[in-house]
Amino acid sequence: MAHAAAHEEHEAGHPTPGTYAKIGLFLFVLTALEVGLYEITYGEHAGEFGHQIMPFFIPLLLGLSAVKFALVAMFYMHLKQDHRLFSGVFVFPLIIATIVILSLVVLMAYHWAFATGG
């Protein structure tokens, strides 16, 4: 009885196939946006608008990627519904990983700047 109740509670928290499909469609749209952004900024059809948004190109792309990453982790990997320990085990290394990437990029940017006398 308790097991059945727990199962129902578990069921209630999980998304339905319809929700999964909507998220899948949204992920596809976000990917199309990324490629579209690339095309209007650097592609064959790049114009004045593309030139204007060039400074925001990298932050926009990284923002879109972060949204896609979060959607897959929260809904497809069920971190939104699962025990918080799983989130902790995943997010803690993810934070370290992000710090490692940022630190190395900044460090090496300084290195190349000094190496080339810039």
Binding site: Y20, E34, S65, F86
Partner: protein, 209 residues
């Protein structure tokens, strides 16, 4: 013996196998962070060797030789879309497995495997194309860091496909019951991770110049 019978009392109250796969995924985050850092640090170092330029045509001022771009965004976009859809398919397969819907599980699991195989095929084609254009692992720092990053990801996808094929065989034999669906859930978590890594690699490598 069912998987429920094998579950031990744990201090967390959680299944240790699921905690193990999440810990593994956490360690993989740091592994790929090192490869992405390596790529970002060396991506501009294509001039340390005799080309080719990755994103757009470039004329060597010394020789006047025009180096053609080798990155093909449309091809990789198709691969990216396939990998994204495969994440949707595997979560639907898991939904079927957890509810004893065998047809749903087998159908979506098969679709996931097909998407994975197409992605691996796309990467094999891309690598072959790059080597023919002159970009090899030894050519320059860009080539070395590019092939290391995308190659390791491709290896992960290949391992994922093999894992999913074994799940498909288990399902065909009727050994992937709702009680044993954790087996598929672990494979699905790994597959989603491979997808989220590509979500980062795709813009960083192919879209950002």
């Amino acid at each position: 013996m069912s998987d429920h019978a094998e579950v031990l009392d744990t201090s967390t109250g959680l299944d240790s196998r699921k905690l193990a796969i999440w810990t593994f995924i956490g360690s993989e985050c740091m592994f790929f962070a090192s490869l992405i850092s390596n790529y970002l640090v060396h991506k501009e170092q294509w001039m340390s060797g005799p080309g080719p330029f990755p994103h757009e045509a470039w004329t060597d001022p010394a020789t006047g030789k025009v180096l053609e771009p080798i990155i093909e965004v449309p091809l990789v976009t198709v691969g990216t879309a396939l990998l994204l859809f495969s994440s949707l398919f595997i979560v639907l397969a898991l939904y079927g497995a957890q509810r004893g819907r065998r047809g749903m599980m087998l159908g979506w699991l098969g679709a996931t495997i097909v998407c994975g195989l197409f992605f691996v095929g796309m990467q094999v084609y891309e690598f072959t194309h790059f080597v023919h254009k002159g970009l090899t692992l030894q050519r320059n720092l860009f080539g070395a860091s590019f092939f290391t990053l995308t190659g390791f990801h491709g290896t992960h996808v290949t391992i994922g496909v093999i894992w999913l094929i074994t799940m498909f065989i288990l399902a065909l034999r009727g050994q992937l019951t709702p009680e044993r669906s954790l087996k598929l859930e672990m494979a699905a978590l790994y597959w989603h991770f491979v997808d989220v890594v590509w979500i980062i690699i795709f813009p960083v490598v192919y879209l950002i110049k």
